[in-house]
Amino acid sequence: MATNRVVGRPFCGTRVITMPDFKTKLAILLGVALSVVVLYGFLYLEREWEIGALLVMVPLGVYFLRRTNALTYYQHAAREMPRFTWISFVLGAVVLIMLLRHDDFALLMLTTVLLYATVSLGLTIQFGFVGVVNFSAVAFFGIGAYSMAALNQHFVFLPDLLIIFFSGAISALLGALLILPILRTRGHYAALITIAFGILFRTFLEVNDVLGGPQGLKVPALEMFGWNFGNSFPSEMGGGSFYVAYAIVALVLVAIVYLITRLIESSWLGLNMDSVRLDEVASAAFGINGPRWKIAAFMLGNCFAGLAGAVYAAMYGFIAPANFNLSDSLLLVSIVLLGGIGNAVAVIPAAFLIVVLPEKFQVIQEYRLLLFGIVVILILRFRPSGLMPRGLRQYFAGRFG
């Protein structure tokens, strides 16, 4: 039976489209399928002209979908059934991983995308919700990675899942120290403090012999649920690279972190954070304790970075100070800017573009930072709210704002 749902917000002046339930689901599934095909193309194709052709086709495709109203239709559907959309995309990603299960390099890229997206979701909470700039995201990513390495070395008896959580917690706690000077400064000065911290962190690693100095540390492969992540999958299980397991862990991580981010956004917590960002003085006049929300957002965002860093360290098997440069922090900030500040969904395609494109185009690889600089300038000039601007706040699917 097809029950008609009202799609879109009746009070927002948006066009009200009604569509039956199964059509809503179909729209979402089509969207997921299309995304999987395009992402598969990006990861699978190797010749530069093929990637180039795909790069030209995607904006044309988006334009076509927008002209035919298919995109609006899909957006309404996704807004109407967020849980179904979330599950479909997670399953779509599993399909993508399975399709690429023999391709080490593609899986490595995909996992990196998912981990960077996790960190960017943390930045979305910090920068997009509460308005605290953080140019040292990679330092917290690194704290997570080094915690993973050190805890694995010194506390062999701890299960790896617990170590991942500890790494996130350590990142959050060290971040709590940094927030103190940030709370006492405004605007550019707060940004400078975080930049200084990022540089400080790297220098600290280089001179610290306990943490391996410039040579870095080795990290053993994860061991969870009775499975050693260093092993590739045997042929009786369908075969597959050992990266498959890491990709799945990264997927679970990003899915949970995304869910948390969205739940925060669509609650009083997110409302208060937005209010602090938009006008701290007016917020304070209505009882909103700005510092409290800044501390909460900063710690949570850094916790996400730490969790991602821990998985990253285990996957690479080796970490060194050179992996955690200021330029990588800028890369993460540019993911948030490219996607759309404060829009949690947007960081995933943006992370994809920023991570995968340079790997595919050797030309870009050399001038990576130069090109990102240009991209950021173009975005800030022509589309300051990003490729996928954040919409009006919404608490629940359907009617409630």
């Binding site: 009070f11 927002c12 009083w268 208060n272 304070a284 009882g287």
Partner: protein
């Protein structure tokens, strides 16, 4: 004898060498509509900022129902039931009208992690409750505005934004409302409409005390029970508008006569 709600004693605020407020004694009675007038730079807004904890007084004290609240931070002052509007609107324009009103009702929100993140059913109940309260409050001010509850504030006209700001200050049912020049940027008709709506509100909540900063003398004359005149951070006159406006000191300082 009416009860004193708010009292400042020798309240002084200084910026460097300048005394923006100099030993100010003001009393506010329960249910009173007090007009605060004075030329530009006489310290009216500074007085509000000192009351609401944005500025810290250098000397003197603020008593609320006889309790000393001098130097309390803004969020405490709000919890004591003092809310305000701003001379230049300070709404979150990219958020919806509903969101702005809910921000004003902060002290009635449950900010617990469990309630917000995990128990979405109870959160939804509270949201529905807030929507209902907001809708009722808005339609008391303007029926047309209540329809725009889910629209961003940036899509509203000036008077509607003022209304939203006043509603944001009223939604938590405060004891004291501080209005900082609500007529700024509005036509006299719009201002009158807003004031009528406020008077209706006072009928329903007779214990609400209001301090109004205003340049429109006609408006002050019409709505205020009593006036305090400031000049260079000092009180130069106090009383009914008709009396105050006749005093030579006030006329010299403010009404432009020698």
């Amino acid at each position: 004898m009416r009860q004193t709600v708010l009292q400042t004693k020798k309240l002084t605020v200084s910026f460097g060498g300048l005394k923006a407020l100099n030993g100010l004694d003001v009393q506010l009675y329960e249910g009173e509509f007090l007009g605060l007038i004075g030329p530009n730079g006489s310290g009216k807004t500074t007085f509000f900022n000192a009351l609401t904890g944005i500025y810290r007084p250098a000397a003197g004290s603020v008593l609320l129902h006889g309790n000393d609240i001098t130097g309390a931070p803004p969020n405490k002052v709000y919890a004591y039931g003092i809310t305000r509007t701003f001379q230049r609107l300070r709404l979150a324009t990219s958020l919806s009208v509903l969101d702005n009103l809910i921000i004003g009702n902060q002290r009635n929100l449950n900010l617990g992690l469990w309630h917000n993140i995990f128990n979405r059913k109870s959160f939804k109940r509270q949201l529905q409750e807030q929507i209902q309260i907001s809708e009722e409050l808005l339609s008391r001010f303007s029926r047309d505005l209540a329809v725009h509850l889910f629209k961003p504030v940036s899509s509203l006209s000036m008077i509607d934004r003022r209304r939203v700001e006043v509603c944001r200050a009223l939604i938590s049912e405060p004891n004291i409302l501080l209005l900082d020049e609500p007529s700024a940027g509005m036509t006299p008709d719009e201002t009158r409409a807003l004031m009528d709506e406020l008077q209706d509100w006072r009928v329903k909540y007779p214990s609400l005390s209001i301090i109004l900063i205003e340049h429109e003398m006609e408006l002050i004359n019409k709505v205020s029970d009593r006036c305090v005149v400031l000049n260079y951070g000092e009180k130069i006159a106090e009383g009914r508008y008709s009396e105050v406006s006749m005093e030579p000191g006030v006329r010299a300082a403010y009404l432009g006569e020698d």
